[in-house]
C-alpha cells in the first residue's frame, strides 16, 4: 500500500522567478523580492500556490499592494486558515475600493490584528453580514430612512447610524444579532423621537461646559427613550433588558428617572432635568450600547438637511399648487392658512388641505413632510410663504439641474450606484459604478426622414410583414371549454362514440385574442468607436426598428450608453417606455453620437432596473454594439467580459432575455460565452445592420 505524500514545496529559484515576474512594477534596484521569496519558501506547497495566485490577482489591481501581501501572507498563515486568508484579502480589497491604497496597506501589513478581530470569540458577528436586514428593520420601524455604517464609536449623525464592525459580547451568534438590533433601535429612537431638535446645540452652548452638558442630556434622553421603547416595542424592550446592563442611577437622580420613564416625557423633560442636575456632584452613566453624542456631526448633517428640505418643500408645494385650479381664483398665495396639514394619529403622516378642501399630495411630498416634522416637530409657517412673485418655485435659485450636478463636484448626488463583478476576486465591487440618466439633446438634422425615404421599400415591407404579426384574434377549436359548440368536433366525437370509442370532451371553440405582451429595451452603443458609417448605420437601424415596433405595438424604450471610468457612466435617454414615439424622439435619434467608452456591465444592470419596472410576459434587452466592452480605467479584456457576462446572468435570473446584435467581426470569439450559443447575431458588414435588424427582431419575438 502506498501512502500519498504531500507535494514538496516549490523550489526557491522558481518562487523568485515567479514573484519577480508578478511584482516587477513594484521592484527597484533597492527593493528586490528576496524578502517575500524567503518568507514564502517556509510555507507548504498548497499555501504557496494559493498565495501566488492571490499575488497575481492583487498585482492586477495594484503592484504595491501585491508586494506587501506577498511579504505578509506567509506570516498570516500562522493565524489564519485559508477561509480567514480569503476574508483578510477581501477586507483589503474593500478598503482599496473605498478608501484607497494606504487604507488597504494598513490591512495587508497587519494580518495579526485582523486575525484577532476575526474570530477571537465564538459567536462573533460581523455587521456586514446583517446590515441589509438591519436597514430593513429600521425602515419598518418607520420615519426617515437611515443608513448604517461601520464606526469606531456607536453614534448617529441623524442620517447614518454608526455601529461596531463586529459584536462578540455573547457566545451565541443569535444573541449578538439581537444585540445589534437593540443598539440600532436605540439610535433610531433618538432620530425618531426628537432627541436632536434644531436649537439643541445652541441651547447647550449656554452651559459653562457645553460638552459635559451634552453628555448628560444624552444620558437623560436615552433613559427616556429606553422606557419609550419598552412601552411601544415590548419584545425589543425585553431584549434590551436581557442583553444589556444599565448601571443603576444615583439616589439623587431617582426622581428624574421616574419622570423620564413616564409616557408623557419629551425631550423637554430631559432638558428640565439637565438644568436641574448639571451642577450635581454625581451623574448617571450612559451604558456603552447607547453610544455617544457627536454634536458637531449632528449639527452638520441637520443643517444641510434642513436647508435642502426647506428648498425642496417650497418647490414641491409650488408645483402642486400650480396644478391645482384653486390657484387661479385665490389671491395672496403667501397666506399660509390656505395650505394646512392635519396630523394623522401616527404623528408623522398628514392630511393635506388647501383652503379647507382635501388634497392628495404626491408620495414624495408626503415623505418630505414626514422628514421635516421628524426634525422640527411641525411645518414652520415660513416654509409656506411664497418666495415673491415667482411663487413657491425656487427653481431659479437652484443650479442643480441634472447636467450641472453631473458635471459638478457632487456628481454622485441622485445618481445610480451599481456593483461591478471583479472576476479576479470572484466578488462584487460594491457601489462601484456611478451612473446617471441624461437626456439626448434633440437635433434638427432631418436624419429620420432621410432614412425613411432611403429605405422606403424596406419600410413598406416591414409595415406589411409586422402587421401580420400584430396580436390578432384566433379561433381555438376542439377546446374543453369555449364560447360556442365546435360542431365539427361534435360530429367527430359522436361518430367516435357510435363506433364504440370514447367520446371526447373537447367539443368547444372559442376566440382568443393573441396578445403580444412584449416589452423591449434597445440599448445603443454610443462609444467613440461608432464613428462615421457605423454611427449612421446604428441610427438608421434604430429608426427602422422603431418603425417595426410601432407597427407591432410592442412597448419599447431606446437608450444610448457611453462613459469614461466607473465614476461617469452615462445612460442617454432617447425614448423611455412611458414616452410615445414622436418628433422629439426622432430628433433625439438623429443626435445619437459617438461619445466615449463602453463599460457594459453597469449599463446592462441599469437596463435590468428599467425593464423590471415594466410588466410584460416577455421582457427583452437588445444591445446594439460594435465591439468588446472597454473603458479607460482598466475595464478591458477578461475583466470586462466577465463583468458583462455576470450582468447578463443577472438579467436572465430576472426573466429578462438579453440579445446582442453586433458588427464586431471578432465577436464570435467572445459572444457565445456572454450570450449563450444562440442569443446574438454578428453581421458581416455594417450596411447590413439597417436591412436586417427588424427581421432579427421578428425572429427573436415570434
Amino acid at each position: 500500500m502506498s501512502i500519498p505524500l504531500e507535494d514538496p514545496p516549490l523550489p526557491l529559484d522558481f518562487l523568485e522567478e515567479r514573484l519577480e515576474a508578478l511584482l516587477e512594477a513594484a521592484l527597484s534596484s533597492r527593493r528586490t523580492c528576496s524578502g517575500p521569496v524567503h518568507q514564502l519558501a517556509r510555507c507548504c506547497r498548497a499555501d504557496q500556490e494559493q498565495i501566488l495566485a492571490w499575488v497575481e490577482m492583487l498585482a492586477r489591481t495594484n503592484p504595491e499592494l501585491a508586494f506587501q501581501f506577498a511579504q505578509h501572507a506567509p506570516d498570516a498563515t500562522q493565524w489564519l486558515d485559508m477561509t480567514g486568508m480569503r476574508q483578510w484579502l477581501g477586507v483589503a480589497f474593500d478598503r482599496y475600493d473605498q478608501e484607497g491604497l494606504h487604507a488597504a496597506l494598513r490591512v495587508v501589513k497587519d494580518p495579526q490584528s485582523f486575525a484577532q478581530q476575526r474570530a477571537p470569540e465564538p459567536g462573533s458577528l460581523f455587521l456586514a453580514t446583517i446590515v441589509h436586514c438591519l436597514e430593513k428593520v429600521l425602515t419598518g420601524l418607520g420615519g426617515r430612512p437611515l443608513k448604517i455604517e461601520i464606526g469606531e464609536q456607536i453614534y448617529t449623525d441623524t442620517e447614518t447610524l454608526f455601529l461596531p464592525s463586529r459584536l462578540a459580547r455573547f457566545p451565541d451568534l443569535r444573541q449578538n444579532e439581537r444585540l445589534y438590533r437593540c443598539v440600532a433601535a436605540g439610535l433610531w429612537a433618538q432620530t425618531r423621537y426628537g432627541t436632536f431638535f434644531p436649537e439643541l446645540s445652541q441651547r447647550l452652548s449656554a452651559f459653562p461646559d457645553p460638552e459635559r452638558a451634552g453628555a448628560l442630556y444624552y444620558t437623560l434622553e436615552n433613559h427616556r427613550l429606553a422606557a419609550l421603547l419598552r412601552r411601544r416595542f415590548p419584545g425589543l424592550g425585553r431584549d434590551i433588558g436581557a442583553l444589556t446592563r444599565t448601571p443603576p442611577w444615583p439616589a439623587s437622580w431617582q426622581e428624574a428617572s421616574r419622570a423620564l420613564e413616564e409616557a408623557s416625557a419629551t425631550p423637554e423633560t430631559s432638558w428640565r432635568w439637565l438644568e436641574w442636575g448639571h451642577a450635581a456632584s454625581e451623574w448617571p452613566e450612559t451604558p456603552w450600547h447607547q453610544g455617544v453624542l457627536m454634536m458637531q456631526r449632528v449639527d452638520c448633517a441637520m443643517q444641510q438637511r434642513l436647508q435642502k428640505q426647506r428648498h425642496l418643500f417650497r418647490r414641491m408645494v409650488g408645483k402642486m399648487l400650480d396644478k391645482h385650479p384653486a390657484r387661479i381664483t385665490m389671491p395672496g398665495l403667501s397666506d399660509p392658512s390656505l395650505l394646512t396639514f392635519e396630523p394623522k394619529p401616527d404623528g408623522l403622516t398628514f392630511d393635506f388641505n388647501l383652503d379647507g378642501q382635501p388634497l392628495t399630495p404626491p408620495e414624495s411630498l408626503e415623505h418630505l413632510v414626514r422628514d421635516i416634522v421628524q426634525d422640527l416637530g411641525q411645518i414652520p409657517p415660513e416654509y409656506l410663504e411664497a418666495a415673491g412673485p415667482g411663487g413657491y418655485d425656487l427653481d431659479a435659485d437652484s443650479s442643480n439641474t441634472e447636467l450641472e450636478v453631473w458635471q459638478g463636484v457632487y456628481h454622485e448626488e441622485g445618481a445610480f450606484l451599481y456593483d461591478e463583478w471583479d472576476c479576479h476576486r470572484q466578488d462584487y465591487r460594491k457601489g462601484w459604478c456611478v451612473l446617471r440618466e441624461l437626456p439626448v439633446t434633440p437635433s434638427d438634422e432631418p436624419f429620420v426622414q432621410e432614412t425613411l425615404t432611403r429605405y422606403a421599400g424596406l419600410v413598406r415591407h416591414i409595415r406589411r410583414s409586422f402587421e401580420m404579426l400584430r396580436g390578432g384574434e384566433q379561433r381555438l377549436k376542439k377546446q374543453d371549454r369555449g364560447d360556442e359548440v365546435d360542431w365539427d368536433a361534435l360530429v367527430e366525437a359522436l361518430v367516435e362514440a357510435r363506433s364504440g370509442g370514447e367520446m371526447s370532451n373537447r367539443l368547444f371553440q372559442r376566440i382568443e385574442r393573441q396578445q403580444r405582451d412584449v416589452a423591449t429595451l434597445i440599448l445603443v452603443d454610443m462609444s467613440g468607436s461608432t464613428k462615421g458609417w457605423v454611427n449612421d448605420a446604428i441610427r438608421a437601424s434604430v429608426v427602422l426598428l422603431s418603425t417595426a415596433l410601432e407597427v407591432l405595438q410592442d412597448r419599447y424604450a431606446i437608450y444610448g450608453f457611453s462613459g469614461m471610468t466607473r465614476k461617469r457612466c452615462e445612460f442617454m435617454r432617447i425614448k423611455p417606455f412611458t414616452d410615445a414615439y414622436s418628433v422629439d424622439v426622432e430628433r433625439r435619434i438623429a443626435n445619437i453620437r459617438p461619445m466615449e467608452y463602453t463599460r457594459m456591465g453597469v449599463f446592462i444592470r441599469h437596463a435590468i432596473h428599467l425593464l423590471e419596472t415594466v410588466e410584460a410576459r416577455i421582457r427583452l434587452l437588445i444591445i446594439l454594439s460594435d465591439g468588446k466592452p472597454e473603458d479607460y480605467d482598466g475595464y478591458r479584456g477578461e475583466y470586462s467580459l466577465e463583468d458583462t457576462r455576470k450582468a447578463l446572468i443577472e438579467a436572465r435570473q430576472r426573466d429578462i432575455h438579453p440579445f446582442c446584435i453586433t458588427i464586431d467581426q471578432e465577436a464570435q470569439a467572445y459572444l457565445p460565452r456572454l450570450y449563450g450559443p444562440s442569443r446574438f447575431v454578428v453581421l458581416p458588414s455594417v450596411d447590413l445592420l439597417p436591412l436586417k435588424i427588424s427581421e432579427i427582431y421578428r425572429k427573436i419575438t415570434t
Binding site: L141, G142, P234, A616
Partner: protein, 270 residues
C-alpha cells in the same frame, strides 16, 4: 360531514357579518343602490372590501353572487353558454345572468384580472340601460331594480397591463378602501380572532411596521386579513412569534433577507 349546497340565487347572507364602518361607505353604497348605480370598490388586498359587500348584501337582503375574475375568464363565463346534455344543447346562465334574473348583487372581485374584452360585457348593465344582451340566445335581460353590480380592484397592483379602462370606470360610483384606522383595526382583529386587546394592538402595530416596508422590498404590507389569521392561530395556543411568522411573514415574502427583517420586526413586539 355534510356539505351545504346553495344555488347562487338563494345565497342570502342570513347572519349579520361583522363589519366596522370607517366612513360613510354604508350610506354611500345604500344611496347608490337605491339609485341603481353600479359600485366600484378599490383598495389594497385584505382591507375589507369583500366583507363590506357581504355586509351590504345582508343589509339589503339580496342574494349575493360573487365571481373571482381571472385572466382566462371569457364573456361567456359571465353571461352563459350552451352545454350538451344527453345529445341536446342546453343553455346555462352564467353568474351575471343569474344575478340579473334574481335581482341579486353581482360582485366581480378583482375585475382587472379579467381581460379587457371580457369586462366590456358589463357596460350595458352598468349604465342607465341596465340590460344584459344574451347574444347567443338572441335575448335581452332587463335588470330589475333590486339588481346591483359591484366590482373591485386593487390599485396597488395596477400595472400597464391591468388597468381599468376609462369607459368601464366611468360608469361606477367609486368607494375607496384602505386599512382601517389603528383603533378600528385593533377592534376588528380582536373581534374576528378573539385575541385580547393587548395582543390585537401588538398585531396591528406589527402590520403598520410591515406597511412601512412597502416599496422597500415588500409589494404590500400585512393586511387586516392576515392579522386576523395570526390572531386566530394565537387563540389556538400558538406562540405569537410563530403565529406571526406563519400567518404574516412567510405569506408576505419569500426573500430570505426580507423574511428575517419581518421576523425581527415581529420580535420587537412579541
Amino acid at each position: 360531514m355534510s356539505v351545504k349546497i346553495v344555488e347562487p340565487e338563494h345565497h342570502f347572507i342570513e347572519e349579520e357579518p361583522y363589519y366596522h364602518a370607517t366612513g360613510d361607505e354604508v350610506s354611500l353604497f345604500t344611496a347608490a343602490y337605491r339609485n341603481r348605480l353600479p359600485i366600484l370598490l378599490k383598495g389594497p388586498t385584505g382591507c375589507g372590501k369583500s366583507r363590506f359587500v357581504d355586509y351590504m348584501a345582508w343589509r339589503l337582503r339580496r342574494p349575493l353572487i360573487t365571481v373571482a375574475c381571472h385572466e382566462d375568464m371569457t364573456a361567456t363565463d359571465l353571461v352563459g353558454r350552451f352545454l350538451i346534455v344527453g345529445g341536446n344543447t342546453v343553455w346555462e346562465d352564467g353568474p351575471l345572468a343569474r344575478a340579473v334574473r334574481c335581482g341579486g348583487l353581482c360582485y366581480l372581485d378583482e375585475i382587472v384580472e379579467a381581460r379587457k374584452d371580457t369586462t366590456v360585457v358589463i357596460h350595458p348593465l352598468a349604465d342607465d340601460r341596465r340590460i344584459l344582451p344574451m347574444e347567443k340566445l338572441g335575448q335581452l335581460l332587463l335588470a330589475p331594480p333590486e339588481f346591483s353590480l359591484i366590482i373591485s380592484y386593487n390599485p396597488g397592483y395596477q400595472s400597464v397591463m391591468k388597468d381599468l379602462k376609462q369607459s368601464t370606470r366611468q360608469r361606477f360610483v367609486a368607494l375607496e378602501f384602505d386599512y382601517p384606522p389603528e383603533a378600528v383595526e385593533i377592534d376588528i382583529v380582536r373581534h374576528e380572532s378573539g385575541v385580547d386587546p393587548e395582543t390585537a394592538r401588538a398585531l396591528v402595530t406589527f402590520a403598520r411596521l410591515t406597511r412601512n416596508l412597502k416599496g422597500s422590498g415588500l409589494e404590500e404590507g400585512a393586511s387586516t386579513r392576515l392579522l386576523v389569521h395570526a390572531g386566530k392561530l394565537i387563540q389556538s395556543g400558538i406562540m405569537p412569534p410563530s403565529a406571526c411568522t406563519a400567518a404574516i411573514a412567510q405569506v408576505l415574502t419569500d426573500d430570505p433577507e426580507m423574511l428575517t427583517a419581518v421576523q425581527a420586526l415581529s420580535a420587537t413586539l412579541f
